[in-house]
């Protein structure tokens, strides 16, 4: 299933400048794993012990995955996953 992942500016050095990527996966975790397959450098930047680093926010259709089932949250065809820095605002 094709899921579009939006890449923040700060990570585009690791994606060859691409601002989004299209990957397959049934959960957010699978989507991210597929993304790391495509862009190996991304894993060390945002992943941590099988989870995500604490200053990384991931959203599906605008909803923070921590309000859903985290990395286990199911995704379906056409969903948009957004990765953003968590250190903004206030």
């Amino acid at each position: 299933m094709a899921i579009v992942v939006k890449i923040p500016t700060q990570l585009r050095a690791a994606t060859g400048g691409a601002s989004s990527a299209s990957v397959d996966g049934g959960t957010v975790g699978e989507v991210l794993d597929a993304l790391y397959e495509q862009f190996g450098e991304l894993r060390e930047r945002i992943a941590d012990d099988g989870g995500l680093r604490r200053f990384v926010n991931v959203y599906i259709g605008g909803e923070d995955i921590r309000f859903l089932d985290g990395l286990e949250t199911p995704v379906s065809d056409g969903d948009e996953v957004t990765i953003l820095p968590a250190v903004a605002g206030g």
Binding site: R45, F55, L84, A88, G89
Partner: protein, 417 residues
Amino acid sequence: MPPESLTCKECKTTYPLDASYVCERCFGPLEVAYASRAGADPEEYRRRIQAGPHSIWRYRDFLPLEGAPKHGTLPAGWTPLLRADRLAERLGLREVWIKNDAANPTHSFKDRVASVALARARELGYEVFACASTGNLANAVAAHASAAGLDSYVFIPADLEEQKILATGVYDTTIVAIRGNYDDVNRVCTEVSGERRWAFANINFRPYYAEGSKTLAYEIAEQLGWQVPDRIVGPIASGSLFTKIARGFEEWIELGLVEGSVPTMNGAQAEGCSPVAAAFAANHDICKPVKPDTIAKSLAIGNPADGPYALELARRTGGAIDAVSDEEIVAGIRLLAETTGIFTETAGGVTTAVLAKLAERGEIDPAERVVAVITGEGLKTLDVVRGSFETVEIDASYDAFEARIESAPAAPTPVAA
């Protein structure tokens, strides 16, 4: 000592002093690092401060600018520090001070941070100033941009208090009201800031913006006669203000401008949005985001960026982070007004209510010197005090007045010449 770099708080990678806020290696927050002050003469700094203007710019040696801030901007800071003996008496404490940051150009502490972000944005040649705001920052960004002749875009949750929207719109800014909560606003702005060459005060300029909050600590210390208070009680939304107040004291202690140690830091949140207080109570190092539901909209950040650092600070200084209910917030607003004459917005009600709670729990030694940081103005959140008092309405006659107001003392007898 000039600013030297942006440094990641997590992995210590350094970056040039540009408009960036995120470590590309580990996604941690970037912070301004200054050249070492080792061996510096504190008296020289004291003289420079005392010769400076009555605004935050008297502390420019400690702010992240390369040159002098441009003139013509709205001077922020140098707000009153008032000894609140009647409040202290009510709480059974000996020495309580109120730092009244409602006395800023747009009536909140956000004038400090917006000023510093804007000054840096101008140094870097930015022409549009923007922010994600719960209201107070929108006021400040719009006002300071207009004063400097820059365009501005302020993004707010659509359900914000009307007073804050009106007090922002007058500055000829573009208000973008987003149908969602502050965390939605923040998410949209984070995306926008990646795509446009705009200076978002609290996103791509956040390292500079955050430094502005240190000036609260500097002023408190200077106004207390170059002394550090024993305890600070202040609000927590993102946690940036809370942690930077402590940083300000730390810098001056390291420099030798003041003696002592960082005050005990007490953070204040509203129960309807208390991710940091909840993590403190559960002894967690990170905050679980929440969906805010509180009258304290200026503190309604469900996903606080500096939450982990606020937790660490409260624990390190022997403080705490507490939450109070909406009823306690209104009671806090009333308590401050009735004992000091200062009318604060909901965030100040949160702070006052937490101060009262700490006093009631006996956590404050009566000998302590306590400073409560009141960050905003009551006229911006008028609706919450509606119904908390009664008006005596009468017909337009003396008799009607006498019939209603019975217990007045008799008029004084004229004294013969």
